[in-house]
Structure formats: C-alpha cells, structure tokens
C-alpha cells in the first residue's frame, strides 16, 4: 500500500513538472521567439516570398491562430510526441525520424562510455576508500580531480592532438569512414571512429563516480555498525563486501541515473569537437540555423530524459533503502 502511494505521488510530481516545463518551452519558442521562425526560414531558403506566401507558411505551421489556441495544439502535439516537420535543417522531414536516427548514434556512444566510467570509477572508488591514502588512492584522487575539473572539450582536444595529430592512430571525426564499409570491417571502422570521443567521455565521467563512491564509502566505514562487524571478528573483505559497499552505493546509484538523464546535454560539446553525428550535434545545428521545430524537440526530449532519470533514481533508491518509502 505504502509503495503504491509512493509511486503514484512520484508519478504525479513527474507529470506536473513535465507540464510546467512544456509550458516554459512554449513561452520560449512561441511567445518570446528568438527571431520570427517564418522570416528566418524565408531568409534561409534564399527565395523572395510574397506576403501571401509567407502567410500561407505561417498557416501551415499553425502560427496564425491566437496564442491560447496554439498552446492547446502544442500541448497535444508534445504529449503525443508529434514534433512536426523540420523547417530548415531537413525541410519536410519529420523531426522524430531526424531525432531518432541521430539518437541511435549518440546512445551507442554514451551508454557504453557511461558504463565504462561507472565500472572504473566505482571500482577505483571502493579500492581508494578502502585503502585510503594508499598509492592507488593518491594517484586516482589526483587524476580524478584533474579529469573532473577539466572541461570535456579540452580533454577531447588534448586527445586529438596526441592520438590523431602526433601519433596518427585514430580518426578524429564522424561516425564511420566517408565510404561506408560492410560486415566486420564496418564495425571495426565504427569502433575506430568512436574511440576518441568514447575515451574522452569515459575519462570525463570517471572522476565524478570515483569521488562520490570514495567519499560515501569513507562515510559508511566510519559508521558504528561497521565497527561492530569488525569487533565481531568479521573478516575485512566481508565487512567491505556485505556491509560497507551496498550502503555506500546508494548515492552512486542516484548519480548513475542522473547522469543518464543528462545524456543529451552532456554530449553536445564532445559531438561538436569530434564532428560526431549524434543528437548533441543536431541540437547545435538546430540552434545555429534556427530550426525551431528541431530545437523544440531536442529541448523537450532532453527535459523528459532528465525527469524520467530522476524518477527512476527515486524508485531505485526506494527499492534499495526502505526508509525512503516510509518517509
């Protein structure tokens, strides 16, 4: 009973936040427009249009009705994931197809690199927390601070200079060779192109996971039940495995869920530096070329991703820590 109530409450919160954010997006893109989309489109297309032709386009885009009516239409479209058609980037193509084709390429990059970052960061964090001030801990602490503080694009550029500029080992851009390969060669080609952005993203996130895992493990190791377990003569290995780590993992799990939520916004700079054709680059293109339909979609979808990730973090937290459900 308590669980269901908790779930419903969280779902309600999620939905209200979503409505608020969608309304904010409406304000941003329709009411306070950064430049009239129809005028921008006309200019980008390079032809001279008469006032009637422009009015026609305005009508097709549903921009000629009063704002409240636009708002209702807009909400209907957004909640059914109908993002309309792209206006400038790829005129007349559906925004969804444009988005998902790019999303596939981003997802493969981000999901794999985030998992790698989690695995490395968490394991190092456990080891560092356990053998505090040891050689491994000192080394990982120093490098984590540097990686955590360094902007991703700087790291990316350093890797480009080193591996592509000096060693000529990896391509620095795109998803695959300009002439696509087939079979096994296709996949080695893709991995090869993904190598540098992947390493950049992984390194950029390792620091965060390491720092959180290490400090939360240190907190837990100071708890009385750990002292009790040790006093009972439980072997150090089991103290760590059965008592300390499961409790110390809680904050990390929140971080994991949240970091997946920031997938879309987090890769913008990386994809731009590496000319990698994913959603991050798509949103930059939409922004610079003022394709407001695509921009609106990337905005709304990234917001939904963050909200969902938060929701999932809440649920996992509740599952792992019964106190949360009751509170």
């Amino acid at each position: 009973m308590g669980t269901a109530k908790y779930l419903l409450g969280k779902l309600g919160q999620l939905f209200i936040t979503l409505l608020l954010v969608l309304s904010l997006a409406f304000l941003l893109f329709r009411v306070w427009q950064p430049g009239d989309p129809v005028a921008t489109w006309a200019k980008a297309s390079g032809a001279h249009f008469s006032a009637t032709q422009l009015a026609q386009v305005r009508h097709e885009w549903g921009l000629d009705v009063p704002l409240p009516e636009q708002y209702v239409q807009y909400m209907g479209q957004m909640l059914t994931f109908n993002f309309g058609t792209s206006t400038i980037l790829n005129p007349d193509a559906s925004v969804s197809s444009l988005f998902w084709s790019r999303m596939a390429k981003s997802a493969i990059l981000i999901v794999t690199s985030t998992f790698a970052a989690i695995a490395i960061g968490v394991l190092l964090g456990i080891y560092g927390g356990w053998k505090r001030q040891g050689k491994v801990d000192q080394a990982s602490m120093g490098s984590s601070m540097v990686l955590y503080a360094m902007p991703e694009f700087v790291l990316g550029m350093i890797l480009i200079l080193l591996f592509a500029g000096t060693l000529h080992l990896f391509p620095v851009s795109l998803y695959e060779s300009p002439i696509p390969k087939t079979g096994l060669a296709h996949w080695t080609d893709v991995i090869n192109h993904m190598a540098l952005p992947w390493v950049t993203l992984t390194l950029a996130y390792v620091g965060e996971f390491y720092l959180v895992m290490r400090s939360s493990l240190l907190d837990v190791l100071g708890e009385e039940y750990i002292a009790l377990a040790r006093a009972k003569g439980v072997r150090e290995k089991y103290v760590l495995r059965k008592h300390a780590v499961p409790n110390a993992l809680l904050p990390t799990i929140t971080l994991v869920a949240l970091s997946f939520g920031f997938i879309l916004s987090g890769v913008i700079t990386i994809e731009y530096v590496f000319s990698y054709p994913g959603v991050g680059k798509l949103s930059v293109e939409a922004l610079t070329q003022r394709d407001f339909a695509v921009l609106q979609a990337t905005f709304v979808i990234s917001v939904i991703a963050v909200l969902l990730a938060n929701f999932i973090a809440d649920l996992t937290y509740a599952y792992l820590d019964p106190r949360v459900r009751r509170a």
Binding site: G46, F49, N90, D92, L167, S177, L184, P277
Partner: protein, 623 residues
C-alpha cells in the same frame, strides 16, 4: 590449484583478444583488397571525397546561395553556355554557337543536338525556353536579373535545336552567360510558381535529374551528400564513379581527416591550417595549391540616409541607427586612407591575397578597374588626419577623440565583426588601432552571421566587415550597389541615381568594349564615393591527396593560377582519376585501433603469466 586457474583465465582471455585483433586486421586487409579488385573489375574510378565546413541547404537551382550548393548544381546541371578555360567568357556548351542580329535586338542560339537528360529523355531548346520563361514569369530568386527582365521581350524555342531571344534594347546579357541552370520541363513543367519555389528537386531514393556529368544520388542533410557519374554526359564520361562531400564542424577536424586519408580534397578558409599543411607537404602525400584571388573582404559603412531625397524606399521605411557622421565623404575618405591594406594581406592573410581596390576583383581581368596613381588611396595616417582637419573635425573636448563639428559628439563608430570567420576578430584589431591613430573611436562587437544579417537588414550598425565571392561576370556584383537592392543584396543601402543609370547602361551596352568602359566608370565612382572599403582580395587555398589522385587541372582562370576543383564548368571533374591501380582506402587509422587492442591483449597475457608464476611460487611455499 584454484589460484593457478585464475592466472590461466587471464592468460587465455589475453590470448583471445590478441587473436581477435589479428583476425580483425586480416578481415580488414581482405576487405580492402576485395574492394580494390572489385573496383578494378568494374572499371569504375573510385570516390573522390571533399571535406567542407559549409553546409548545403537547398539544391533547388533557383534558390542556391552558398558555394556548396553551386558546386553540386554546376555538376548536375548545365547553363546555356560554358565558361572558357582561359578567359571565363562564354564558350560553346549546350549552345554550340550563337549570333546577334544587326540591330542587336535578337540573339539566336544553336542548341547541341542529341542531348539527353539523366533519365534518358531528350534535352531540347524547349527545356531552355521553359526554364527561362518560368524564371521570368515567377520572378524566381536570385537568378532573375541574369535574364534582364526589364527589356527581355521573348525567349522561344523555334525548333528542338534553336533558341531565339529578343529584347527591347541591344544587350550582351545572353552571353555573360546567364546563371540560370536549365531544368527539365518534362518533370517540372506543370508546377505553379508557388510549387517551383518550394520544389525540393531531390528526395530520398530519387536522384536529381539534370544534364550534367554527375547527379546527386544521396543526401544525408547536415552530414554528407554523394553525386554519381553520368556515363552519358555530352562532354564525355567522368573517370571517377562518385564524388562525395562530407560536412565537418570545424576546419581542424577536417584537416586531420585529410591527413589520415579519410577525405581527398578541401578548400580551406584558415590560413594557419593551410600553412601547417604546406609545411608538411611532401611527407604525407598531400599537395597544397594556392589559387587565384576571386573573393574579397570589405568594410561597409551605413549609407542609409532617410533625409536624402535619393534614399531607397527600404531605407526610408527602415531608417536604422547609422551614425550621420559617416554620411560625410570626408570621414569615409579619411578612414580609407587610414587602413593599411598591405599589412592586412601580410599579417592577417599571411600573404595569401592582394590589397583591395574596387568591387570587381582583378580575377575578372577584362572588367576589373585598377585606380590610377592619382586616384589610388594608399596608407597614410597623416593624409587621413589632414582630410579630417580640413573638414572641420577637431578634438574640442580634449579626450583624444575628434568631435563632429555639426553635433559636437565624439566620432565613435560601432564596428561589427564576424565570429564565423577565422580572421574576423583579427581584422577588427588592426582597423580599430588605425582609426584610433586618426582620432576615431570604435566600439567593436564579434557576432554570428545570423546576428550580423539582422543588424545589416535593419540598418542597425555603423560599420561591419564581411566578404563576397563574385561571379566571373561583374553584373551581379555591380547590381548590389543599385538603390533597389537596399534591403536585399545591398551592403550599405548606397543610393545614387547616376550609378543606377550606369548599371542599366552596362546591361544594354552593345559590345563588351562599350560595356567595359561603363563598368570601369561604375567601379571608379564607388572607389571615390567609398560606401565601403575593399580591404583585400583573398586567394583560394586548396589541398588534396596527390598520392591517390591525379588529373586535377589548375588552368581554369584568366590568371596564371586557377582552381583545382569547383570550377564554373566541369573541367577537373572530367579529368580527375585515381593514380595507378591503387585504390586502397584508409587503413592507417583502423590499424591504430588494432595496435592498441593488440597491446592491451599482450599486457593481459603478461599479467596472466606473472600471476601464474607468482601463484605457483606461493603454492610451492605452502608445500
């Protein structure tokens, strides 16, 4: 015993990784040689890949603005005539010959017989007549003026192979040649004006139908596009089988891709990267090429003066915020004297350019007007100061900045610079410094092209620095200073009835020599009136993989140096071919990955061996 097994596990997994890497390397080399033999067997000539940082937005031939769009259109379609290699004047192409009647009012063109569209349908004079009439009737885009709509009477196909063009006044417009790509009537003939304006011309799975040596067959918008050779091209089949363009976000990534063999050619906007490539040339199979100076950079002044009786209607409606002091010719002349164009060429362009003079670059050898020694405005801070002093500008409030004698205000101008140009901010630094020396303050701002366009169209600026890539024929460039271009192509909203009249005169000049005189006069007028200062003519900087490709001609130019690629007519596109039989694609980069995987595997193997050795020892110790 269990401990030994763990070491074994590590050892075995390391070995597996090494084997996988070796297997992948083998598969890769096998597939590379496979594709090489396949292409040799098919007789096809490989894919030539260009890298660019300029996106293609449309392939509707009436709506093209930017160079990647014209690059595709020029290969996919034909104009009425070609551009001659050495003069860039009209030469036989689709029209094999032409004549003008003795009264100068009728042009008759003989059209090449037996031509076909890329879908196999016959190409006739009717297609040309339809394209031109559609352009005139629908007032289509930027190409309309090439057909001199004010005095064209009719354009008709009198047979499949003859086109007749009549005008009210004698004109040489039909042989400039008109920059209107000829579109197939059998496909678009039933389109209304609104439909033709929105016509995409390319949709997925439907190649674009034209009559040129290549046709657009793939376009992943915002990423890459591919053109496939047309074996039935009337000028002969290209050697290469495909031409592909890949879009990069930044020039650095693009140059790296060129070095690694991922792309074959690029035209660079960055002098620094070009110099870097040049310093390495010979070591990496990349050849650099300095082409002619076709484009120019200019500093424009806000000339919109709503109080003037000659002001363009657009300027009257959008008076903007231009500083009235810039309407004083003395101020503009002084600024022009204060700019050291040679230093800009040396320091900003690293020598890849020439100091600017008039709006028709020297590349257009026949029409470029070079100011005489008396007229020429050089670099002299003293002259500039003198001109301002003579015009009554004094520093009345002793703050180091001159004051406008009419208003008493400081001469402080806003200068807008481009963030999307590699040299925008650097140009600004120099110009600001020189103007300071003559007592003019500037407030500079570096903005995106979008923002600059807005400021420019709303006349909300004092000065800005931008550039142009003019046609070989001067008509279009000259048109941008006519008063009715204010609000569309005009840089400055310059308005001068005398200039407007000369523009029409040059369009109707009966012979090229007559026209040349008028075109000279127009350039001279702008050079003295100074609505803008032409800062420099910048050279085209190209680089390509010469280890892989041969046959790029650089002789398409009225000057000694020409372009290698993206010429106005398909020359290099037909002569380009793979060097020898080697069509091996980029293996270097992929092997980098395999090297790393191999090393990783080897490390794991060593760790495994060490573990086994150590554990073994400890087992012994236990025993």
């Amino acid at each position: 015993m269990r401990k030994v097994r763990r070491g074994l596990l590590v050892l075995v997994s390391g070995l597996i990784i090494v084997l996988l890497a070796a297997g992948a390397a083998w598969a890769q080399s096998a597939s590379a040689s496979g594709s090489a033999s396949a292409s040799a067997a098919g007789g096809s000539g490989g894919t030539f890949i260009e890298g660019t940082v300029n996106n293609m937005r449309t392939v509707n031939p009436w709506k093209a603005i930017e160079s990647p769009e014209y690059e595709v259109l020029a290969l996919n379609f034909d104009l009425l005539e070609n551009f001659d290699k050495s003069t860039l004047q009209a030469s036989p192409g689709v029209a094999t010959s032409w004549s003008q009647s003795s009264d100068g009012l009728t042009w008759t063109f003989q059209i090449r017989p037996g031509m076909t569209w890329q879908d196999g349908q016959p190409f006739t004079a009717n297609d040309i007549a339809w394209t031109y009439n559609e352009t005139l009737n629908c007032k289509l885009g930027n190409s309309l003026d090439y057909l001199v709509p004010n005095f064209t009477k009719s354009i008709t196909a009198t047979s499949d192979t003859e086109l007749v063009w009549t005008t009210d006044k004698p004109t040489s417009a039909p042989i400039r040649p008109p920059w209107v790509y000829i579109a197939p009537q059998h496909i678009y003939g039933n389109d209304t004006c609104a439909e033709i304006n929105k016509e995409p011309f390319f949709e997925d799975g439907k190649p674009m139908i034209g009559s040129g040596p290549f046709q657009l067959t793939q376009w992943d918008k915002g990423q890459d596009w591919t053109m496939t050779a047309n074996p039935n091209y009337w000028g002969g089949a290209p050697h290469i089988s495909q031409f592909k363009v890949v879009l990069y976000d930044n020039s650095e990534a693009m140059v790296n891709a060129l070095k690694q063999g991922e792309i074959d050619y690029t035209n660079l906007g960055s002098v620094d990267l070009f110099n870097q490539l040049q310093s390495e040339s010979g070591t990496n199979g990349i050849t650099t090429h300095v082409g002619p100076a076709v484009t120019f950079g200019q500093m424009s002044f806000n000339m919109c003066d709503p109080t003037s009786p000659d002001a363009a209607p657009y300027c009257q409606k959008n008076p903007g915020t231009g500083n009235p002091a810039l309407r004083d010719p003395a101020v503009r002349t002084a600024i022009s004297w204060a700019i050291d164009r040679q230093t800009i060429v040396d320091k900003v362009l690293a020598g890849y350019g020439e100091p600017g003079t008039t709006i028709v670059p020297p590349f257009a050898t026949f029409y470029h007007y070079q100011p005489t020694a008396d007229e020429a405005i050089g670099f002299s801070i003293d002259n500039a100061k003198q001109i301002l002093a003579d015009a009554g500008y004094k520093d009345t409030d002793n703050n180091g900045v001159l004051n406008d004698p009419k208003t008493g205000q400081d001469l402080n101008f806003r200068l807008i610079l481009r963030s999307e140009s590699d040299i925008g901010a650097r140009l600004g630094t120099y110009v600001t410094g020189w103007l300071k020396q003559i007592g003019i303050a500037t407030t500079s701002e570096v903005v995106s092209d979008g923002k600059l366009s807005q400021a420019w169209l709303s006349d909300d600026y004092d000065m800005y620095i931008w550039g142009w890539g003019p046609d070989p024929d001067p008509d279009f460039m000259l048109s941008t200073f006519t008063s009715n271009q204010c609000g569309t192509w005009s840089d400055t909203c310059y308005s001068n009835p005398q200039y407007d009249k000369l523009y029409v005169d040059q369009q109707t000049a009966p012979t090229p020599e007559d026209r040349q005189k008028i075109v000279y006069q127009m350039q001279d007028m702008l050079y003295k009136d100074i609505p803008e200062v032409v800062l420099y003519y910048d050279k085209s900087l190209e680089a390509y993989n010469s280890a892989k490709w041969t046959g790029l001609e650089d002789n398409v130019s009225p000057q000694p140096e020409g372009f290698l690629w993206n010429q106005y007519t398909a020359y290099s596109a037909l002569t380009l071919q793979l060097r020898g039989a080697d069509s091996g694609s980029s293996g270097g980069a992929s092997s980098g990955l395999l090297v790393i995987v191999g090393i990783l595997g080897a490390i794991i193997v060593i760790v495994g061996i060490v573990m086994i050795a150590r554990r073994g020892k400890s087992d012994e110790d236990l025993a």
